[in-house]
């Protein structure tokens, strides 16, 4: 089957506004020898040219109009990970079956969220693999693997959380800190730029975000004393349009929040995908821990912009406002969780379930904090500052001998993508109750070497560790319901208009729960632990739900 021509047909049909019957498209044989007369060739070329603007920036803005596709890491710019598809519902989910499984042949954790565009699924796997599959059958169309140097230093596995798509390209951030544009039809490299020196601990694990003609991406490396940044690249050329350093240099506002030269190795990575508000042209991007993660001595001050939500102008990367969740963090509580755009009573808000155990609601036009409510076990904060921000107890600082603080270093939540369901107005997030013994030790910085200044151990006090999916009312911070797992999971959540919230567990189950009650309605044992978040799509008018588990990607649908 030729991929170009059916997609061209689909594209033209799409633009005309009619819904394309996919079967027709799939069997449309415009490539037979007899059809190669000049006129048809001309039309075919036209299709190909049109297909070159396959996923326009406008389509990304209007993604709600094409629920059959999943166009960004979180499904749309709001970060809600909500699908308006409702064919699979609480009534029929009991009959959901596995439709296909794609084995990536990669070992280790799969953290990818697939994208689906017009019947093609794009995803990533360990060691900077990217691939495209027929979303209906799971059959591969192309595979790409970046040549990863042997001496890369990613902190937490050779993972990748997914791709961005724009035009006829998909975009991959790599473990050696390259940003690569691949031809979405062949996997061929279109451009490949080096953002930073991986030998100093810089890497990319994040799914980039396509905004207008820019590819926005945040760096990893908070465990290596990098100087964090968020970059934007021109999607066509790979030329860098702007960089926002998450640790301000001399003369810049916020620089005074770092002691001496500590800013040079201040960390504040930006390793999770942000969100975008077209109405104000602002990108919301969260940042991670200051370095060294578990030792505050030597970096006195608030350490801006670590553990901060940044509101950046999309065109220039200039800072509009910021909100710092955890000042002068000493517990590795990266605030990199997805900042979800929520509307309530006419207010434009951002809701974030933070790794430090608090659920924050922020006015996204001003950056002003509206509320912060604990949603899991926490012992680090008993008080709030004048703005209402939880502040650390003196006793929460790590000691040489070590003492227990909750949550532990892994946090109440972490990279697990949350979901917000506008139908129930509930925020679904994976949470864990675990406390750690935090110990600290002086450590000199050495380029490319781990820079923690610490050790931490699971504390007996909170054993056994408990894991949940929690449904939080963002208005009140109240937990409406919670589903307790057998053990804590690293899976994210997806909610759908079918009244379902999907999540995975550490024991390998894929689970559908009722969005209003949390009652489990269906499950499937996938045979490998889940570290990824689910997504939904449709092909030929039929809805599917996909998730990565073990070293494979699974798709489920009704019989």
């Amino acid at each position: 089957m030729n991929i170009d021509s059916p997609q061209g047909v689909l594209q033209v049909t799409w633009k005309s506004g009619a819904s394309a019957p996919r079967k027709q498209a799939r069997h449309n044989s415009v490539f037979s020898p007899s059809s190669l007369c000049a006129g048809i060739l001309g039309i075919w070329l036209l299709f190909v040219i049109q297909a070159h603007a396959q996923v326009t920036a406008d389509r990304l803005l209007q993604s709600s109009k094409e629920p059959q596709n999943w166009l960004t890491y979180s499904g749309d710019y709001s970060g809600r990970r909500f699908s308006s598809l409702d064919q699979i519902s609480a009534k029929n989910v009991h009959s959901l079956v596995a439709k296909w499984v794609y084995q990536t042949a990669a070992t280790g954790k799969l953290e990818t969220t697939p994208l689906v565009v017009d019947g093609i699924l794009y995803a990533t796997a360990q060691d900077d693999r990217a691939f495209a599959l027929d979303a209906l059958t799971g059959r591969p169309i192309w595979m790409y693997q970046h040549e990863v140097p042997a001496d890369i230093r990613p902190c937490c596995g050779h993972v990748n959380r997914g791709l961005a798509i724009l035009g006829d390209k998909v975009f991959l951030g790599t473990l050696d800190a390259h940003v690569i544009a691949l031809d979405s039809k062949t996997g061929n490299v279109i451009w490949d730029v080096v953002a930073a020196d991986y030998r100093k601990g810089y890497s990319f694990t994040v799914a980039p975000l396509a905004v207008k003609n820019l590819i926005v991406i945040g760096v990893s490396g908070g465990e290596y004393g990098v100087r964090g940044f968020i970059d934007a690249y021109d999607a066509d050329s790979g030329v860098r349009k702007w960089r926002f350093y998450t640790v301000p240099g001399p003369g810049e506002p916020g620089h005074e929040t770092w002691e001496g030269d500590s800013w040079k190795v201040g960390g504040a990575p930006a390793w999770n995908t942000g969100t975008y508000d077209p109405s104000t042209d602002q990108i919301f991007w969260p940042t991670g821990n200051p370095a060294p993660s578990n030792r505050g001595e030597g970096r006195a001050g608030d350490n801006l912009y670590s553990n901060t939500l940044l509101a950046l102008n999309a065109d220039t990367g200039k800072l509009n406002w910021y909100f710092q969740f955890t000042k002068h963090d000493e517990h590795d509580w990266d605030a990199t969780q997805v900042p979800v755009m929520v509307e309530s009573r006419g207010k434009q808000l951002i809701a974030q379930a933070n790794r430090n155990g608090f659920f924050y609601v922020i006015d996204r036009t001003t950056g002003r904090l509206i509320s912060a409510t604990a949603y899991g076990k926490q012992t680090w904060s008993d008080g709030k500052d004048a703005e209402g921000r939880p502040i650390a107890n003196k006793s929460a600082s790590p000691t040489v001998e070590g003492h227990t603080v909750c949550p532990g270093a892994l946090g109440t939540t972490n990279f697990m993508a949350p979901a917000y369901d506008p139908q129930t107005a509930l925020f679904y997030v994976t949470a864990r109750d675990q406390c750690d013994i935090f110990s600290t030790a002086p450590q000199p910085y050495e380029a490319g070497h781990a820079y923690y200044g610490s050790a931490y151990f699971p504390s007996d006090e909170a054993e056994p560790y408990r894991g949940f999916l929690k449904a939080i009312d963002p208005l009140t911070g109240h937990i409406k319901w919670q589903f307790e797992h057998t053990s804590p999971t690293w899976s994210g959540a997806l909610s759908t208009a079918g009244g379902l919230v999907f999540t995975g567990d550490a024991e390998g189950n894929f689970i559908a729960l009722d969005t209003t009650t949390g009652k489990p309605l269906w499950h499937f044992q996938m045979g490998g632990a889940v570290y990824a978040a689910p997504m939904a799509f449709a092909v030929d008018g039929k809805e599917y739900v996909a998730i990565a588990a073990g070293s494979a990607v699974y798709a489920f649908g009704l019989p």
Partner: protein
């Protein structure tokens, strides 16, 4: 700074040409060379032997990567053995220590470098620094041996009733963990604590890579749909099913949704061995037996 790197060709799915076969051959040759290089490296000398500065650097790395199980100061943390013992089970030479740290120990909780989900993984240089640190912490004089292992064995299989539930080298029960290697992987203090306070710590539920047992030995009590009560230890469990071994070593495979009741407790099924039940001296003997077996 950005530099536009040269275009790279993607790896295509299907290629069965002579070229591909040649490539496979070359890769195999390369892999063989790599294996050889690794083996050669493992024979290498520690470039930092006795270097106090390297030992200090090794201490940082140890805290990040190893202390989770082996404890601060390498004195053992309950999960992993005390590395200040000069006599180690799996590695005598520093080259062997290098191999153990790099590759882990299959079948134990010791993971390969960079896979324990805790630290970030170490470079060769950092591994040698850690070895230098461990060497600097070793207690040279052998500890006075405590306890009578021969009497300990009699107790284990006899009146202390340990073997009703625990196996050592193929003899004994199945309800508790096999203790054949526990003497090599636990500190003396940790073993004593497990006997005196069995519920204090069930098996260590850690990250997948460092799980020593697939199970955590929780006590499960269920009532089935037909009213039968089953009590035993969990072999495994997920959100929807549970696999239990009862006191008669019968395995029960159960779907949670079909049970009348399900109760899980971290109160160990093992009785608390108070000093009245097992004197300090007798316990020393049992531990001496286990440590002797574990050192094999």
């Amino acid at each position: 700074m950005i530099t536009v790197a040269s275009f790279r060709r993607p790896k295509q799915i299907k290629k069965s040409s002579a070229c591909a076969r040649l490539r496979i051959f070359l890769w195999s040759a390369f892999a063989f060379f790599l294996a050889f290089a690794v083996a050669a490296r493992a024979d290498a000398q520690n470039p930092f032997a006795g270097d106090a500065k390297a030992a200090k650097a090794g201490e940082y790395e140890f805290r990040i990567n190893c202390a989770l199980c082996h404890g601060l100061g390498a004195r053992g943390g309950g999960r992993g053995p005390d590395l200040t013992r000069a006599q180690k089970k799996h590695a005598h030479s520093e080259a062997e220590m290098f191999a153990v740290i790099s590759n882990g120990i299959p079948g134990t909780a010791m993971p390969a470098n960079g896979t324990n989900g805790q630290g970030v993984g170490m470079t060769d240089e950092e591994i040698w620094q850690i070895i230098t640190y461990i060497r600097s912490q070793e207690v040279k004089a052998p500890a006075n041996s405590i306890g009578n292992a021969v009497h300990g064995k009699q107790l284990f299989y006899g009146e202390a009733n340990c073997s009703l539930c625990h196996m050592v080298e193929g003899q004994g029960g199945r309800i508790g963990p096999d203790l054949s290697s526990v003497g090599g992987s636990r500190t003396r203090e940790a073993i004593i604590d497990s006997v005196r306070n069995p519920s204090n710590r069930l098996a260590w539920g850690l990250t997948e890579a460092t799980k020593e047992f697939p199970q955590e030995y929780e006590t499960i009590t269920v009532v089935t749909a037909d009213g039968k009560q089953i009590k035993g230890v969990a072999l495994n469990e997920d959100n929807f099913s549970v696999q239990i071994m009862d006191m008669n070593e019968q395995i029960h495979l159960l779907e949670k949704g079909k049970l009348r009741s399900f109760r899980k407790s971290r109160e160990s099924i093992m009785p608390v061995y108070t000093p009245e039940l097992l004197s300090d001296k007798d316990l020393d003997d049992v531990v001496a037996f286990l440590i002797g077996m574990g050192a094999k």
